[in-house]
Each structure stands twice: as C-alpha cells, then as structure tokens.
C-alpha cells in the first residue's frame, strides 16, 4: 500500500458505506507486510499461539473498523502495535496468567526452540523476560528484537518518546536482576 493510498484511507472509509477502511486487496498487502512481526510480538507477550492468533484477528478487525488518517506505513504499523498492546493488556486484566514460565511455549515451538536455544544463558534470558511485567517485555522486544526507534516505541506503547530511553534502561536493569549470576556476568546470552 503506497503512502498516497494511505493518505486517502480516511476519505475512503467515510465516503463509502463500506464496513472496512481498506479494500480486500489493500488489506492483503498490509497483512502480508505486518502480520508475522505482529504475531511474533503478541506471541512473545502471551506465550500462547492460539491467543496470539485471536489477538491478531482482533487487532486487524479493530484497525479495519476504525476510520483514521495515516501518515505512512510506519504510522500504520505503530497503530497496529498499539492496538495489539492494548488488547494484550486488556486480556491480561481479564484472565490471570496460568502458564508456567518453564512451559511457556506451545509444543511445536518449544521443540523448535529447544533445538535452537542450546545455551543455558539464552534460556535464562527467555525465562527472565517472561517474568518481567508486560510493559518491560514490550519495551525490550520492540527495541531489541524489532529494532524499533524510540519514536516508534512511544507510538506503539502510548508513552512519551523522551521517556523511552529511561524506561528501556530500567527494563534492562530489571531483566538483569532476574538473570542468574553466571548469565549476568557473561551478559545476556553469554556472547560477549
């Protein structure tokens, strides 16, 4: 979807009596570009693939049903992440987490991860991440897994851009505090 096309989304949504702000072909393009990263983000926060599927569906539904004007692909992406973040938060409020952090993967993914995550340090980091509060997980994931800028993180999480750096620093501190001493000394992942 081009930026020109994005600029006309609001007009498209209000001028026509369509149920969604995008046509199907436009939606498919957007979905193909954003869905996998968004799913991974929601999955890392919920640690359940079925929940991630549901929240992904809900995220796009709300996006499609909300007329708005977007300033480009990044704006659309940040909006999707913002919706997903809010949905994860709402879901967490409604249901208490019952999944153990030691079994936080679906069987398929767990098996795959066991093959890949051969070092104890990496598993330690994953476990420590799972123990962090949602906001810290979101910050760390967006910054260090997605590579989002501070402005993008702010837009995705609904925080002020100039506070992202401080929030990230504190999140890293809390993560480090949860790591075993051996992992902490080597740095997360033990790669350094």
């Amino acid at each position: 979807m081009s930026e020109t096309r994005l600029d006309t989304l609001a007009l498209h949504a209000t001028a026509c009596d369509e149920p969604f702000v995008l046509r199907e072909d436009e939606f498919r393009l957007l979905y193909d570009r954003t869905s996998r990263g968004l799913w991974a983000y929601v999955y890392r926060l919920t640690r359940d693939s079925h929940t991630a599927d549901d929240l992904l569906q809900e995220t796009y539904y709300r996006f499609l049903r909300t007329p708005a004007t977007y300033d480009g692909d990044l704006h659309v992406r940040n909006t999707l992440y913002r919706i997903a973040t809010n949905l994860v938060r709402d879901r967490r409020r409604r249901t208490r987490p019952t999944v153990s952090i030691d079994h936080d993967e679906t069987p398929v993914l767990a098996a795959a991860h066991d093959e890949v995550h051969v070092t104890g340090e990496r598993t330690d980091v994953r476990r420590a991440m799972a123990q962090l509060r949602d906001r810290d997980q979101q910050l760390l994931w967006l910054a260090y897994a997605e590579g989002s800028s501070h402005q993008e993180i702010a837009a995705s999480l609904g925080v002020r851009a100039n506070s992202v750096k401080t929030l990230l620093f504190r999140a890293r501190q809390r993560l480090a505090a949860l790591l075993p001493r051996t992992t902490r000394d080597a740095g997360p992942g033990g790669r350094s």
């Binding site: 149920p19 869905s35 991974a40 890392r44 539904y61 049903r65 994931w141 910054a143 890293r172 350094s192």
Partner: protein, 166 residues
C-alpha cells in the same frame, strides 16, 4: 551490571540487529563498556528469538482473517441496524400494556356493580379489607401482595432477557 547508558548504544544495537560484525573501533569500545556489551548480547538473543519465532510461526492467512472480519462486521452491522426496531417494539409494547390497563380500569369502573356481585370478588375484597385485631396480616392478603410484587420484579427482568440478544 550497567549503571548508565552510553552514546555508542544506538550504533551497537543497529549493528547487532543487522547481524553485522562490529567494526574495529566499535568492537574495541564494546570490549571495554559494560553497558554496550550487555546491550549487544541482549539484542543478539532477542533478535535471534524473533527470527526463530517468525520461522516457526503459522500465522493465519490474510484470506481467513478477512473472511472472519467480514462475517463479524456483517453481524455487528445487522445488530446495529435492528437496534432501533427493538427499541420501537419495546416502547410500543409498553404503550399497549398501558392502554390495556387503562381500558381494564375503565371497564372495571363501568362494571363494578356486576363485578361486585361475583362471589370470588366479594371474597377477595373481604380478605383484602379485613384487618386482624391482633395486627397480623391475613394469608390471602399476603399472597396477593406477594404476587403483585413478584410481577413487578419479574416483568422488567423477563423483558430484559427477551430483548438482550438483540
């Protein structure tokens, strides 16, 4: 554990995310900077984690998501469209009920002589008007009031249950 951020942090993050080897000056800096060393390691772990998750992810197809969204939108739009009809129907029902009660009252007033002659009405009126010298409430009187109260409570509840799905 780090206690402060570093001006080289952004460059370290960018290099780790890109999967590039650090250039010599940056590598020398990372070797001596606990903050950047930790950030570099953390980015490597999380970025690899994301790559693994993406590789294993079975994201629903765009067509399926679109189809589900379309069904839901139709359902919600239909519910929204019929909501005014439901409200009008409820108001109409209330008006008709009020009219019926008024007509019944008028009929009762016109036919009070004929009604008064009915034994059951006489018995009911006697039960309602009889006052026990001891102050106790009679059984029939209590039953009539209980039925009236139950109807008052149950009617709005039944209306709510009947109309809530719409």
């Amino acid at each position: 554990m780090m206690t402060r951020t570093c001006s080289h942090e952004d460059a370290v993050v960018a290099a780790a995310l890109a999967g590039h080897e650090l250039d010599a000056p940056l590598e020398a800096h990372v070797a001596g900077c606990a903050n950047c060393r930790e950030v570099h390691a953390l980015v490597s772990v999380l970025h690899d984690d994301r790559a693994d998750t993406l590789a294993q992810a079975q994201v629903p197809s765009a067509g399926l998501v679109w189809w589900k969204a379309t069904l839901r939108a139709r359902h919600e739009d239909a519910a929204r469209a019929t909501r005014p009809i439901t409200v009008v129907a409820a108001v109409t029902a209330a008006a008709v009920a009020g009219l019926l009660v008024s007509v019944a009252g008028l009929l009762a007033w016109w036919m009070q002589d004929a009604l008064a002659a009915q034994p059951i009405v006489q018995a009911l009126a006697a039960a309602m008007s009889t006052s026990d010298p001891s102050g106790a409430v009679s059984g029939v009187r209590l039953a009539v009031w209980l039925v009236a109260g139950a109807l008052l409570v149950a009617t709005p509840l039944l209306l709510y249950v009947a109309l809530r799905d719409e």
